[in-house]
Symmetry: C2
Subunit: 326 residues, 2 copies
Amino acid sequence: MAKRFSPETYQQGILSGDRVLLSRAITLVESKLPADQELAQQVIERVLPFAGKSVRIGITGVPGVGKSTFIEAFGNYLLQEQDKKLAVLAIDPTSQRSGGSILGDKTRMELLSTNPRAYIRPSPAGKSLGGVAKSTRETIILCEAAGFDAIIVETVGVGQSETAVHAMVDFFLLLMLAGAGDELQGIKRGIMEMADAIAITKADGTNMIKAKAAKAEYQNALHLYPPAASGWLPRVSVCSALQQTGLDTIWQTIMDYLQRTRQNGFFEKKRHEQNLQWMYEAVRQGLEESFYVHTQVRELLPRIVQEVKAGRKSAFAAAHELLRLV
Amino acid sequence: MAKRFSPETYQQGILSGDRVLLSRAITLVESKLPADQELAQQVIERVLPFAGKSVRIGITGVPGVGKSTFIEAFGNYLLQEQDKKLAVLAIDPTSQRSGGSILGDKTRMELLSTNPRAYIRPSPAGKSLGGVAKSTRETIILCEAAGFDAIIVETVGVGQSETAVHAMVDFFLLLMLAGAGDELQGIKRGIMEMADAIAITKADGTNMIKAKAAKAEYQNALHLYPPAASGWLPRVSVCSALQQTGLDTIWQTIMDYLQRTRQNGFFEKKRHEQNLQWMYEAVRQGLEESFYVHTQVRELLPRIVQEVKAGRKSAFAAAHELLRLV
């Protein structure tokens, strides 16, 4: 690995918008070495007062929905029409193994990746979901301190990672294809009810009629959903990355959401709760990590798992037995 | 508290269907005394081989949906028409404080509570959700060993308890009122996507037309949902506890679900996974309980919580600081 700098150097570099030092700091955050982790925490503590001022947008959708193309188009809209500085992060731990398109294939975002006011960072390799989520959350802080005022966190829509993204963003956008049949295959249950907005992608050419019909259907379905704690009623719109249409509507939806939730206090409350949630989650991870590496636990666990699965031992007796070992 | 018996006595009593000993064993399960917990685990280990043979049905719905009335009617249908032995448990930790109807007011289930083939047990008082969930899950095992082959777990539909119930039942039924507006107030997001079936209650008299319209609407909306891992497409039906109609349709739906998921292996897989999930959850609870009672953690936590909420300290630095104390 490249050489380390002092916490001050990272801090000054990040705050002055130095992309090389930003990248180096993110690499620290992603590192598994205890010394790097220690240094990363020092850097984060230093830049924390300068973070928090972006709008954090989670974007999900199954493979094939056109996620990279959408982010490329929407990102360029934010840069050019809304004068934003944009960071795009990814949170799918399997992306690089599966060869999926999730930011791995940067050529899909040619315009964004060459724009000096955009910063693209793929998902860190070789980490568990918990690890990726932690890295991504800390990377948000670093990017905000570096002056990026719009952060997109991309996730793949088929795994456990949506809940993690939902817990780190202000606004959650679900991309869907027109037609409510096969395209839904693979989306996990519960994700639709997390969405603050749904955008029907590829609404162009002969697809337009189908997209508008899908919009009406989903808008209708969303009325049957229970209202969110935010007081916000999720909206559905159509868009085309190809024709660059509908992007302004989505941005307006996000603006309306921010205005509404800032007014009713939900925005700040949610951020506070997210901060706490991540703290308790990190404590939990820390406790479990040191528990499950314990030699006797590792020796006993496989047998106990079998007995519990088969219903020969009760879950609580098994837990009790394991906890007694440490 | 009443005197304790030997594990053998509880075991023999439960297996022979002795309701007094069953109730005593459940009281042990609900007790916070370590000696009672120890004894409870011994009883559970003894009866575990005789458990697992019931159908476990979770039922939820907001106050006003007619949950108690429905369970009374559906329970009597199961006893009389399906020759079942039925246990009704509740999992809402707040029920007894809020004075809600959740099994607290037994007079609402007059027929069930006087039927010798039914067993009604309200939610244990003064416990956290985690505590109630653990007790309820262990109570399911005791009731199954006592010969009850249908278990209903009731929850109130507005809190965190639905996820816990979902993790301990085979089939999850959501009760809804006709009309998709105000009645949804209070239902938590995500619950609709957990449901294996929705029943529109109070479908009688002048309400019938509205109920049928609601059925069509929800059935339509469910088609827009992603398919469940079970391969099951949730169904919607109407029912009336007053006129005792639609109960057979709901039972048939549950039977179809069981047949389908037993055939494709999902039923057994889900039970295995639920067993494991409860074990890991119990380990987590055990680790967190002993961590957060630690004197230094208790002293430092309030200040750290404030700093994290306000964004002055990062969630991970805070967790690290706390973990270092122990």
